[in-house]
């Protein structure tokens, strides 16, 4: 177990180190102009190390340095109680909730749609092109309207946000599942055919198992898409709670550092969610060596 851990951790650590290095370099490069203009006075009189120090600790940097972001994260998590809107974890929880609800609904919808499409020619021909078209409708553009309409239908709380998350979530799942459910080799389908297996049996015993390798990658993409959807949906709910609202207000108040800490948090949340899906995948597709 140990060496395996090292085998996995080492590359991640190495790449992470490289990224941090690049990040610092980027911070110096991108912030230099602003620092020279706004921070380093009198103009022109500064040493290189002063410049670097200034770029890495600006009030309103183009790209905040990693330690600024980490410090901000740390303070937001440690300095406030968990249920305070100033604590980032509070917003993580809000976003995670709508993401998860949307993800579960989206996955179910995706699988059901795929199963229906695979089994019904009418739906395959009539629906599939429109499902594709539905995804080319920019969500953010209609999210406000969708939220208003959902609101007038009596949905409130997580439901509207989860709906948007679901809308983004179900598509990759549907596409992958349609492909997966159609992936059984001809001879395998014919075998089931000779048994006069019912559609139901063929679905559970052949189509679904052979679709699983397609399903899980799509779930990983789906959960990420759901997270994006949940955050997008947080904007037109009026900048209330959630990581999306944090990003918005951070950007609005010009607080670059808090944008980046919300960004890092959302990425971490995404990573945790995909890792959870990957864990389920390992469990389900587990085969003895």
């Amino acid at each position: 177990m140990k060496p395996e851990l090292r085998e996995r951790a080492l590359p991640v650590a190495a790449v992470l180190a490289a990224v941090l290095l690049l990040w610092y370099a980027g911070a110096v490069g991108l912030n230099a102009a602003g620092a020279i203009e706004r921070v380093l006075t009198p103009k022109g009189a500064y040493t290189t190390s002063e410049l670097i120090a200034a770029t890495l600790n600006m009030q309103r940097p183009v790209l905040p340095s990693p330690h600024q972001v980490i410090a901000d994260l740390w303070h937001s998590i440690v300095d406030w109680p968990l249920d305070s809107p100033r604590n980032l974890l509070y917003h993580v929880a809000v976003t995670a909730e709508s993401t998860l609800v949307g993800f579960v609904l989206g996955t179910l919808l995706g699988i059901v749609l795929a199963a229906a499409i695979v089994h019904s020619r009418t739906l395959d021909r009539a629906l599939l092109p429109w499902i594709v078209a539905s995804q080319t409708v920019p969500v953010l553009a209609i999210a406000p309207i969708v939220l208003v309409i959902l609101g007038s239908l009596g949905f409130s709380g997580v439901a509207p946000k989860a709906t948007i998350a679901m809308y983004l979530c179900f598509f990759p799942v549907t596409v992958a599942m349609v492909q997966g459910l159609r992936s059984p080799q001809r001879i395998e389908s014919e075998l089931m055919h000779t048994y006069a297996a019912s559609r139901n049996q063929a679905f559970w015993m052949l189509r679904l198992p052979s679709a699983l390798p397609f399903l899980f990658p799509s779930l990983r993409i789906g959960v990420a898409a759901g997270l994006v959807g949940a955050m997008v949906a947080e904007l037109p709910t009026g900048a209330q709670a959630g990581l999306g609202a944090r990003l918005l207000t951070g950007s609005y108040y010009g607080n670059t550092v808090s944008i980046w800490s919300a960004l890092v948090m959302s990425a971490v949340l995404g990573l945790v969610l995909t890792a959870a899906v990957a864990g389920v995948e390992k469990l389900v597709l587990r085969r003895p060596a």
Partner: protein
């Protein structure tokens, strides 16, 4: 012109005129069936006006050069391939109805095991589909696996088996659910002679005991002669029946029979038919 009478050698009507066959006695009735595979260049005539009637309880072997349409004929009977012309009846029904009535079992030319199922679970599959209880399924599956000499491999996955072992799993799977009509496409092709002999003997005994109808594709002349009540020799391009040979061997058979002159004469006849089929090929 050269095509033999489609009822030639049918046991219950060896002497009777063709029309006299009572429908109840005919398990499979293929009438002037043709199959054409469309293709970008020239369409392939895989079967051409094939006529064949197989009685209940018969053991019919199909033999012929590679690519002559044996698999296609089996697939037509099993409702896996539509015919371009002609008519096919299975137990008096269309192949489709027969399939839905779960009238037959089919062993494919390649094993077609599900990689996510263990060996045992693969054999249990058709039984589960028929809705038997889990315990029943498992008992039958274990028994069948023992028959093909795979006890101890129940919990392995298909990819952990050798080619011949996979083929044996596939045979066990088809035998397990005791179909009235059994179709087998080169089931013993990947087996060594000893194992093959053993399974041949078992299949022969099974047929003895239960008189199921069997349609059997093989490349081994000895196997065909040993097992069959009738041997159908086919020739390719277009795929058609060249000759139907009625076995003169007694129904009760042992492996020892293979050294008898009667056996050898039959084998010789089949070989000649085959050679003729190859000749037809070369002409084309």
């Amino acid at each position: 012109m050269n095509a033999p009478d489609r009822l030639q050698g049918l046991p219950s009507s060896a002497a009777a005129p063709t029309i006299a066959v009572p429908a109840a006695d005919v398990a499979v009735d293929v009438r002037r069936a043709s199959v054409v595979y469309p293709s970008a260049d020239a369409p392939v005539r895989a079967l051409h006006e094939v006529d064949l009637a197989i009685g209940q309880g018969e053991f019919v072997s199909l033999i012929g050069p590679s690519g002559c349409g044996k698999t296609t004929l089996l697939r037509v009977i099993a409702d896996l391939e539509p015919i371009s012309a002609g008519e096919v009846l299975v137990n008096g029904m269309t192949p489709r109805e027969a399939r839905l009535a779960r009238a037959y079992g089919y062993v494919f030319q390649s094993p077609a095991l599900f990689p996510w199922r263990t060996v045992l679970a693969n054999v249990m599959l058709p039984l589960q589909i028929q809705g038997r209880t889990k315990a029943q399924c498992e008992a039958i599956a274990r028994e069948q696996l023992e028959r093909v000499g795979l006890t101890g491999f129940e919990r392995k996955y298909p990819w952990q088996l050798s080619g011949g072992m996979q083929q044996r799993v596939s045979i066990a799977r088809a035998l397990g659910f005791e179909p009235k009509l059994l179709m087998m496409d080169e089931p013993f092709g990947a087996l060594d002679e000893i194992t093959r002999d053993r399974l041949n003997e078992q299949l022969q005994q099974l047929w003895q005991r239960e008189r199921r109808t069997v349609v059997f594709v093989t490349h081994s002349i000895a196997e065909a002669v040993y097992l069959s009540t009738r041997i159908v020799v086919m020739s390719p391009r277009p795929g058609r029946i060249l000759k139907v040979i009625r076995s003169t061997l007694p129904d009760e058979r042992t492996l020892g029979l293979r050294d008898t002159p009667e056996f050898m004469a039959l084998a010789h006849e089949v070989r000649e038919g085959l050679a003729a089929g190859h000749g037809a090929d070369d002409e084309a």
